[in-house]
């Protein structure tokens, strides 16, 4: 549904985005990952027509965003939750959007309800909102036109853990009903729980993309733990499986869980844990690909 082909954006001589290509099929959530300043926002702004690409194209459903007759009814966009008039109430912000979209006034109340801003918060001025509430209001604006596509830039910023969990459920549900979601984050753990596929960008270039399992398969390995770490390591070495130190007292074996289990069973060693190295592996991948673990860890102000 979203197709970005050879997108390049230069400011002066500086390349912000260089030859970026990826697509987001319907029914999926795509996590767009990269450190701050990697080119995520520039790519998304070019996608929704707020920035003109230097070369390359970005389309939604085969059409340029600017050619969509009523863009908000097709694509829900939240690029910056702070970009709202502080003097308007939450309800007024949605009312204005509903007039442009041409949707029923009742949708405003439904949207407020859906993002948890119904009641008193709806009547408060946005200037008094916390960042989390602004994110919710931005999400409500994006959902107001009942779109088939969502484009969200760092929507988890400012949300508390409960809010992030809520948003994951909302996006998962949206995709499961056939919708297309593109969401960016500079924090891996925010998107890995909900994303079907990942696109990792660094320094304006795509450095990895694929389904989560594909990206994991290459580097993840299998985490094993047992009461006797040395014995465990030896059993794996005997079976010809490479071993590295895992978190705490665990080991990460360079093989599938089945092969690890067989090797350990053959040696008669006791196991207490055996699973795909999972998130940690993806985290390492993310860090190695983006090449700057500090930036990745940094929380945006």
């Amino acid at each position: 549904m979203i197709t970005i082909e050879h997108l390049t954006k230069a400011y002066g001589g500086q390349l912000a985005v260089a030859d970026v290509s990826f697509s987001c099929p319907p029914g999926t959530v795509t996590g767009f990952l990269g450190p701050n300043g990697a080119g995520k926002s520039t790519t998304m702004r070019a996608l929704v027509g707020l920035a003109e690409p230097t070369s390359g194209t970005a389309t939604v459903g085969g059409r340029r965003y600017r050619d969509l007759p009523n863009a908000g009814r097709s694509v829900g966009v939240l690029l910056d939750a702070g970009a709202q008039h502080g003097g308007r109430t939450g309800r007024e912000v949605l009312t204005l959007a509903s007039r442009v979209l041409g949707v029923d006034r009742r949708r405003v109340d439904e949207a407020l309800e859906r993002v948890g801003l119904a009641g008193r918060p709806a009547g408060k001025r946005v200037g008094q909102y916390s960042l989390g509430m602004r994110q919710r209001l931005g999400l409500a604006t994006a959902l107001l036109g009942d779109p088939q596509v969502l484009v969200l830039d760092e929507p988890a910023n400012g949300l508390d853990p409960e809010g992030i969990f809520w948003m994951r459920g909302l996006l998962r549900d949206f995709a499961d009903r056939g919708g297309t979601v593109l969401l960016s984050s500079h924090l891996l753990h925010e998107v890995e729980a909900v994303a079907d596929q990942l696109v990792v960008i660094s320094g304006g270039r795509i450095v990895a993309q694929g389904s989560k399992s594909e990206l994991l398969a290459g580097t993840g390995g299998t985490l094993v733990r047992g009461p006797d770490r040395a014995l465990l390591a030896k059993a794996l070495e005997v079976a010809g499986i490479g071993v590295s130190a895992g978190p705490d007292d665990a080991l990460v074996a360079d093989a599938e869980a089945l092969a690890v289990g067989q090797a350990v069973a053959a040696a008669g060693v006791v196991l207490t844990e055996l699973r795909a190295a999972g998130g940690a592996g993806l985290e390492d991948l993310f860090r190695s690909l983006t090449g700057s673990s500090h930036e990745v860890q940094e929380v945006q102000a």
Binding site: M1, P25, P26, G27, S41, R45, V48, G49, L50, A51, E52, V60, G61, G62, R63, Y65, R66, L68, P69, N70, A71, G72, R73, S74, V75, V77, L79, D80, G82, A83, Q84, H85, G86, G87, R88, E92, L96, A97, R99, V100, L101, G102, T141, G145, Q148, V149, R177, G178
Partner: protein, 261 residues
């Protein structure tokens, strides 16, 4: 077409919804002018200023007291303050960064700008109407507060001229807003620049022709009096081109090209 594209619950094309009509967009822009505290207060202040002018013209004994006179006086606060609303109509989108939402909902930016220009025009016409209403009240009360009789005479030409002047004045505000995209900068320059220009071209005798043809405050003055001739219109037109059309065209191009972030 592959089989995947036929899966019913995963649509690959977008449903076509009609684009918002210009009327819809104009109404939204009008709503934006009064749905914030700043906008509402500005409207209230304009209303109070009109009432103050009415009171003043009633109690000042030498002031002429016909309906046409009251109508002219009450335009004054409108012509000074309403352009600020025109400026804010554009610049608040940037200072409050709502341009991001506005232009993602309506990616064809010219449509939004046309709606803003039309909304500003409506505000100017409403302003003239409010001033006219105040003038009606003032004329009605004239015999109560003075020795003058009620005199309702006014020509259609004068009403038309005043309408034109007020619309152009508010659009000048919109144009400055479009060009500068910053509320404080646009408001300050809107008031300072034409004033400095007026002083400059009035002081230097050699610049008389500039004053007569390019100074909007000089050329708009005759429009508040009955019977403007063709040359008057021409002079008003050339100065309006400099102070309204030029900044609006430049600002329009700037907004179409600028990246919204």
């Amino acid at each position: 077409m592959s089989t995947a594209t036929l899966t019913p619950d995963r649509p690959r094309t977008l449903a076509d919804h009609p684009a918002p009509s210009l009327l819809q967009l104009v109404r939204v822009e009008l709503r934006k002018s009064y749905d914030t505290r700043a906008g509402r207060w500005l409207l209230i202040v304009i209303g109070l200023a009109v009432l103050a002018v009415v009171a003043l013209s009633l109690f000042v004994e030498d002031a002429p007291k016909t309906f046409a006179d009251h109508f002219g006086f009450t335009q004054l606060p409108i012509s000074i303050l309403l352009p600020v609303l025109g400026i804010l109509l554009v610049t608040s989108e940037w200072s409050q960064r709502t341009a991001m939402t506005t232009f993602t909902l309506v990616p064809r930016r010219s449509r939004v700008l046309v709606a803003k220009v039309l909304a500003a025009t409506v505000l100017a016409v409403l302003g003239v109407a409010v001033a006219a209403l105040a003038a009606v009240v003032a004329t009605g009360l004239t015999p109560v507060f003075s020795d003058s009789e009620r005199d309702w005479g006014i020509s259609a030409a004068l009403v038309g001229q005043v309408l034109v002047v007020q619309v152009v004045t508010v659009l000048a505000g919109v144009a400055f807003g479009m060009l500068l995209l910053s509320s404080p900068l646009a408001i300050v320059l809107y008031f300072v620049l034409p004033t400095v220009f007026t002083i400059l071209v009035s002081l230097v005798a050699a610049l008389d022709w500039v004053r007569d043809w390019l100074d909007l405050s000089t050329t708009s003055m005759p429009l508040f009096e009955d019977g403007l001739d063709a040359q008057g219109w021409l002079q008003f037109g050339t100065s309006a081109a400099l102070w309204v059309l030029l900044p609006m065209v430049l600002g329009w191009l700037r907004i179409l090209r600028t990246e919204v972030a």
